[in-house]
Symmetry: C2
Subunit: 334 residues, 2 copies
């Protein structure tokens, strides 16, 4: 008989989570009740925002202990008792980390077939990760064609998406910072960044000035702290900073980055800084697909993903992602 | 024979300027050359941005030593050798601090007559001060009717203008902070602020929370530092911070305010922060007049000004303004 595995959060972590904060619970497949469908999950997403959810209970917008740490997932309907979902449907839902999830039609989105585009792209470039990059660039920073962009944590999921999408939006130069020489090479050699640097090699401001002697127009920030300070140094008049949700994440790890000492230079440079949460922009999913799918189909755009196999590795993948061990979007395939 | 007085900057100050940084130079009236007109100044403006100009020479966008510290002024043409200006014209120009200025038609704007509105209002509510408040509220913070506004340095020139204009724009509650009990009383009793507090009386965040238990939507900031931190604590989701040029001023006094420790809360609250320089918005002067003049004429709106008499007091007025000794806009009338 088939067995379902569910990954519970059993403890509130302090700082970086450890394997002991989770428990793998195995049991029979859930019974399909009227109005629901059973989904066999194919791909699970591990994302920075989940770390924040671990700090609060359900009432606080987080995760109750001894329940699964829920997240984005893609699966296939294997048994339906609702007319809204049919056996064989590929669906996106938010009820991982589980091998099997019971969903209502309201909780699941039947995925369109994008011929030639791998379905797990719905968790990377065509998912919340890509949407974060797209919203930050188009709605927050309002990137214009011909402008120059700097991206922090550029080798991470949102970072690589931001670099690729900035290019599609007509950015002139795309510059990234990352945490290792391998990541820097990946950005320039595999993802078409015009320049990249390892932030361990020197002050961000000085390295950015070297990579972008004429300054930059937009800073897509996943980091804050010294990256923000270095960006403010190098932003042109009327520059914009888009602060992705991941920045707040750092606070929860107990190490809030220092606020930049040059913050008030945003006045003399007429700079705009704006934070955003991607969950307010789900209505732009169609717009994101319209932009990206043709390029994904033609092969001109390739999702940048680190894929880990097996539900047993989801906790390690999550912790690894928080430690920055991934290149691009971290996905767990079952 | 009439004498002209010109106030030169003779030294670069460190921190707060002192009287020794200036010299009063007296001499004959300037000779009216072809294409110019001689203006007898009636009112001079002393503004925070002038402190910054004192740090740099003309090439750096500042003020050369042994030349007048230039600023906004209103005067009357007393001798013209250009068809663009006629004897008796009331003009706005930027060539104070002088009792008499030689101007070209390009350097002077002939002022419209606003029946019943004192001409010196062109240096307060209808001048750069009012325009700073108007731009910050309408173009940067994009204040909507029914929203709540918090203003720092609320008893200063830009602050009182922001409070009055926010009300005209339909703000629900207008809250200010200031540096003395007298200023707090002035805001509530004379200017119609709904609440105000003395920032010496306790942490800004806690005092603002008491004055605005439901939070605020917009923070018009002239100060930065602990005011920004307290505002971020109390801003609602999608709150906006408009940073007026005056904030940068503090850097030049050698005491840059600390960046707020809760800066990254702007992500979870989707807050927007934006700096601006009013000089980029001079094209909105007509819009400002359209809004304010009817209310000024009816008496519903009164410019909040501290008027000092005599060119000999311009330096003291300037230093007093930098020390926050004024209520409302500081003007020197000759």
């Amino acid at each position: 008989m088939a067995t379902a595995t569910t990954v519970h959060q059993v403890r509130r972590p302090s700082g970086l989570p450890t394997p002991e904060d989770f428990a793998f619970v195995r049991g029979p497949l859930p019974e399909v009740t009227t109005g629901t469908a059973l989904v066999e999950n194919l791909h699970l997403s591990v994302d920075p925002y989940m770390r924040e959810a671990m700090d609060y209970d359900g009432w606080g917008g987080g995760n109750d202990l001894d329940t699964p740490l829920e997240g984005r997932s893609i699966g296939r309907v294997i048994a339906s008792r609702t007319p809204g979902l049919a056996d064989g449907d590929l669906v996106f839902h938010r009820k991982a980390w589980r091998t099997h999830a019971l969903v209502t039609p309201e909780e699941a989105t039947v995925l369109p077939g994008w011929a030639g585009v791998p379905i797990r792209t719905r968790l990377s470039l065509l998912g919340g990760t890509g949407l974060s990059a797209y919203v930050g660039l188009t709605r927050i920073a309002r990137l214009q064609p011909g402008e120059d962009v700097f991206i922090s944590a550029a080798a991470g999921g949102v970072g690589t998406a931001a670099g690729q999408i900035a290019r599609l939006l007509g950015a002139r130069r795309v510059i990234g910072s990352a945490g290792s020489a391998a990541k820097v090479r990946h950005l320039v050699d595999d993802l078409g960044f015009d320049a990249a640097f390892d932030y361990h090699d020197g002050p961000v401001g000085a390295q950015l000035a070297k990579a972008a002697p004429e300054g930059v127009d937009v800073f897509f920030d996943n980091v804050g702290g010294d990256h923000l300070e270095g960006a403010i140094e190098n932003l042109r008049t009327h520059g914009r900073v888009a602060w992705c949700g991941a920045v707040a994440q750092y606070n929860d790890l107990g190490n809030p980055p220092p606020a930049p000492r040059n913050l008030y230079d945003v006045v003399s440079k007429s700079i705009r800084l704006e934070g955003f949460l991607v969950r307010e922009y789900n209505h732009l999913q169609g717009e994101l697909e319209d932009l990206l799918v043709p390029h994904l189909r033609s092969g001109a755009l390739k999702p940048d993903e680190t894929v880990v196999e097996g539900i047993d590795n989801v906790v390690a993948a999550f912790i690894g992602m928080l430690r920055g061990e991934n290149l691009g979007k971290m996905i767990v395939s079952l």
